[in-house]
Amino acid sequence: MAVELYPESFEPLQRLANYEATQLPIGSHGACASFIGSMRDFNEGEAVAGMTLEHYPGMTERQLEEIVAEARERWPLLDALICHRIGEIDIGEPIVLTACWSAHRAASFDACRFLMEALKSRATFWKKERLAGGSSRWVEKNTPG
């Protein structure tokens, strides 16, 4: 398992392929489910130009590791990966990648969704949006899944 924070833009599909190639023995899994969240250009009815993602160094990483460990207790996973951006993020850039590997699809699908929902509700990240008009605002709540 791995938890990775990226202060600069990262390529989630490349990271996913690289992780699988280096961490999972060929033939070890029958399923991989992944989710990629990206920076959109609208929120709460307003045009958004970008955002800053703040985190609590030390606490955030540990929380993500605990969420991965919880998923591995609940589902028969072979491996799991969380990658999350921090810092300045531009429109269209990936924010988060979650991925789970298992023998069969149900565990991967369910655990991958769990990682995202747990991360959004528990992990200490905070978004501050830059609006197209030049002002900025803290995002006060997450959108429903």
């Binding site: 905070w126 978004k127 709540k141």
Partner: protein, 82 residues
């Protein structure tokens, strides 16, 4: 020893505080026993926002939870990652 206090996101901006320490003498003299007491002492009585959350030593905690000398107390708004 001391209590280390940290503020994140909108609470950092609203209070104008990033981090500070409350000395051991002040902990005793001001009767600081809970995270809410820490907030009041650190911000010099600024109102505690209704949505404020806290962590003690990097674990989520209740605002009424007990604090001890040497702890790191963090205050922050609801999380919005992902």
């Amino acid at each position: 020893m001391a209590i280390k206090v940290r503020f994140f996101a909108s609470l950092r901006e609203d209070t104008g505080l990033d981090h500070l320490e409350i000395a051991a003498n002040d902990i005793a003299q001001q009767g600081i026993t809970t995270a809410t007491d820490v907030w009041m002492a650190a911000t010099r009585g600024q109102p505690l926002p209704a949505q404020a959350l806290c962590a003690i030593n990097r674990d989520h905690a209740e605002l009424g939870a007990a604090v001890n000398d040497g702890d790191e107390i963090a205050f922050f708004p609801p999380v919005t990652g992902g």
